[in-house]
Symmetry: D3
């Protein structure tokens, strides 16, 4: 039995509120259990220096937690004067994942800045960030379409992420909350597309190792969970959801 | 006529949602017009080195904006690796203001960390932060009272803040929104207590100067506005509001 | 009775030595009691990026203390690798104050860098910096006039600053020295023009609050003190003093 | 055909020179094709603050490249004043992987500092670092055994790492060199133990996605390659290799 | 002929004003031609961590220039957030030189912080700093003697520094000003004791090289110049000068 | 008798392996006793901003130690986020020394980046770096000559460096190892050209001072030692050695 009475293959409640903040081109508040992340997508009409002159766009992400998103208050990274390794790892992951389902040639020399700010944390903040950021990015492209700045929706497929893991007792579970995550032997984050292809697999067993069968079981749990998550994304995206996939890679 | 049709002495709509985030001892979301700030108060059971051994507590504040709280995206201070002068000025102001109505001897060797995170900005973020932070701090002390960690509510009086200014045409106005703030000749932030005493006056006329009569007019506007704001604080604080002032300085 | 036998409305001795350092376009050593600040104004023939192409100039200030300007040695900010919040607050104040009496359009695309370096501190270093910096800036513009780089003195009025405060006993005093400043309940810095208009009011009562009548009394003290200070500035400026105000805002 | 004429399942030549540098407790130079990494393991007789008093040890890793390890010279991270996200990601991975096969309770309150310095890079620097670091750590523990500072070899199993990927043409390959890595659609790093269990799987398809069958194929390639690599480790470790596994987790 | 009409072996005018700043235990303003440096010596009653428990003291120095000490304004090192290589080199030199004539055992577990702040620069700022710092340190020890914190003057000998160089024409000169320094082929700084022993020799010929005879000629010039400088130090030190050398190394 | 049985005027064994690393234009591994330094020279086809448009090139050096090059592990400078004063001093010295024997006009608007990375340290790392870097730079220019990017070898003379010192007993010695260096009274680094001219003399007696005769004795030791070192350089340079000096300054 899990600490919040869920089945081993049961997701927590997911809610995605579109257009959460006024100023960004795309903005959502995603809630996964007690994890809450504001995902904003901002369009800038130029690309970073290393991309200039190629006629292509770029997507980059930043991730942060409010100091008291967690049980214990964390020191603000701006106060420390540097971004932690964990933060860097997460923001590189978010950016890379989003770029895998966007045809950068279709967005012209623009940068999409994705900001994922965790206001409350209870495990799975990086996967909630990816899932929410995908919706924010689609909404931002919706603005570009409305203003005729681009002609096609440049998003080739859905994209969502979830965690899976193995509890000490050897049971594979889906969507770990903070307490489960702290105690699990193995922790794996899976990013998949709407058509069920893998985008990222990051599995680690710091205190433990895992075998091929356990890996397969975790991939199955993730795959089934992600299908349901994508349904929630579709609803938040609304009419624009029909245009996803009109661009093929 | 003001750009949002308010009277010169009219506040924007203010709402304070108590217990907004789960983990902090005190937490509110304050909304002033389109400005939204999450104010969290965290209790730490020790004081900074320069305060140790005095049997007194400390209150310190940090202030930050989400990168896209504003019309244009700002670079994250953690990415820049340093906190701007503006941010430092604001967080020093918030901490100083809160300390003026708290009897630090009554809280023992504890630090109250106040985090004001602006998620949407439309002018007056520093005054909204003070107004919201006051409520968060009272709620956090409420937790200490409940756990019998302290015996008296250490808050000596209400505390709230508002901006006033002078438009180019020479008209004094209350509670400037972003557009007004950008265009005003004079901008002044006033922090007051529930008994109408000044805690901070910060007035500046970068492009202009102002005379004594204008100053008096602005102080009057602020004073009247702050009375109304304190009513909103009382409601958010609820039953605990009766205990404010039980400690005298 | 004050600790140095002054009357409550008595300034400390002020001396301004013009042309103190050789290289800067404008340079003074200002002495206020035991506080000594070197104020240098340097002219650079370009403006910061955010000002380019507007045909206007800019004035910016930096403030620093020698490590042993104070009773206890302070760690050098260059060694710490960052500028403190207090320093940032002061240098922002100095720059803002100076810009309020200079017509930036008249100086063309030039930057005036004002450096205020406190070599000995005994309270009132930020107000002494403003008072001294004003003279250094006028001298620097004098050089530009002499070289015919500008045609008019771009300074619209005199500018000086002083502190006022309220002692624990409730007595308002003018021009606090370090010991008074440490013990005062309320500390306020006033920046005014030669015509008696306010440029900045920054009043704070960390341990205490203050009422409207106390505020008025402090403003009166400041106003009378600043008149005398401006006389000292005039003498230091010499012949150029006649040209102040030839530009109107 | 691969650019260096290898079969799709063929490793590059691997050489591990033990005791490469004099001062460290454990030191190797590992060469994988044209990639060369110095891996040093240093024993410090204390643990970081967050581990104190638990009677356990800690293993942490740092990774760096000489500026001209690569075709183009990179700016030194010490000169930039900060460590890049990529570096942080890699050093976190190395430390985590090593900790999975060491019984930290057996090493007492000691820290093992692992330094992986790439002196020449041609792809696979992070996996070569893990493979080499494992040997350096075993050698360092050998020193502790020799000095009777510990009684048992605390290493529970072998540990090695390799990359696999999918070329644009859809062919899965083992041990990518730099050119292959730049062009591959999918890049995956696998860390495994001597008994064939997974420790880390990090797979990413920035430009592409991959299906379950492709994943299985890559895991198989990695698994077969790692068996051969562990043979090379055994030889470098020499007599000590018999003691690996005497501690069980 | 030199650009300021001096003979090749002629020093610029040197003046040392003792007790220049109020707060430091020792303080001088040294003027060498147009170079002006404030040298303050502060006594702290503890030593840095690496010296603790040895019963010995430490002397360390910091060096800085006001931004407009030079013809062109330099960016403040506190603003840049890091200290330049040149500054580090100079402050290491000053500290090392002073330690060579102080018996650190005689000062107990105290640190002498020496701050050399150049307020006006015209060449030779590092040598003027050493010459002035020596006097400031002696004055600070004088305070310790007066307060009976130490029993003996711990200074074993006089210490002063000067520059020598070789002009493009091949002429060796003493005490280079800024213009000479910029044009000289060889630049050498010599630190010597009162008994004519070398403490530091730092000679460099970036654009040129120099032979043994030229070296000897420069050492002779320096030696004669330093004798005169030590006379100026003696006068500034006054009565305390008799106690220098009462401690032997 | 020296701790490694050398005569007072005896060098340690020196070996220079040319073309040590593949990617740099010039690369050597220099071994001096137990000190090992990788010296890489990289050619960049542009100069730093302050040199642009002058038609001249630039040579700059960076120096670093692997954390465990020394007996005790040092914290990585990239982790500390800043380069130490010692490192800065050394890299400024290396760059300056190399520039003294290169005609920068002959290399066009190119920068030579010299990286000296100490992989094992036993005293004399800075002098070994200079000696090795000289060879790496010559090899890099050899590449430019081969590609006809330059016409003449721009190196005007040989350049090598060595340390000399005075042991506590008053004996002058050549080429100090780490233990000798820690105990010596006086430590001096000498950089000379092939024709026996001085380029740099840096002598310091932190705990002691030294007289003119001792200085002369040390210069003689250095001079004789450097002649032998240059023979080793010649061998490593091979055929290119004939072209050194074809450019005269």
């Amino acid at each position: 039995m899990r600490n919040d009475n869920r089945e081993h293959n049961q997701l927590r409640t997911i809610e995605i509120i579109p257009n959460y903040i006024t100023h960004p081109e795309g903005s959502v508040l995603i809630t996964v259990g007690n994890t809450k992340v504001i995902c904003n997508a901002s369009i800038e009409d130029r690309v970073p220096p290393f991309m200039r002159g190629q006629g292509k766009g770029w997507i980059t992400a930043e991730y942060s937690m409010l100091p008291r998103a967690t049980t214990q208050r964390n020191i603000r990274e701006s106060t420390k004067g540097k971004v932690s390794g964990r933060t860097m790892e997460i923001q590189r992951l978010i950016g890379r994942a989003l770029r895998s389902v966007v045809d950068l040639e279709k967005i012209g020399e623009r940068t999409v800045w994705v900001d994922c700010d965790v206001i409350q944390a209870d495990g799975g903040t990086r996967t909630a960030s990816i899932t929410g950021a995908f919706v924010a990015v689609v909404l931002a492209f919706g603005e570009l379409l409305k203003n005729k700045a681009i002609k096609e929706m440049p998003v080739t497929d859905y994209l969502a992420a979830i965690s899976v893991g193995i509890l000490k007792e050897g049971i594979e579970i889906l969507d770990l909350n903070y307490e489960e995550d702290s105690e699990a032997d193995v922790d794996m984050n899976i990013v998949m597309t709407g058509s069920g292809e893998f985008v990222e697999i990051q599995g680690t067993g710091e205190e433990a190792t895992f075998g091929l069968n356990q890996l397969k079981m975790m991939l199955k749990l993730a795959s089934e969970g992600l299908e349901k998550i994508i349904e929630v994304q579709k609803e938040a995206i609304g009419a624009l959801s029909e245009r996803i996939g009109e661009t093929k890679k």
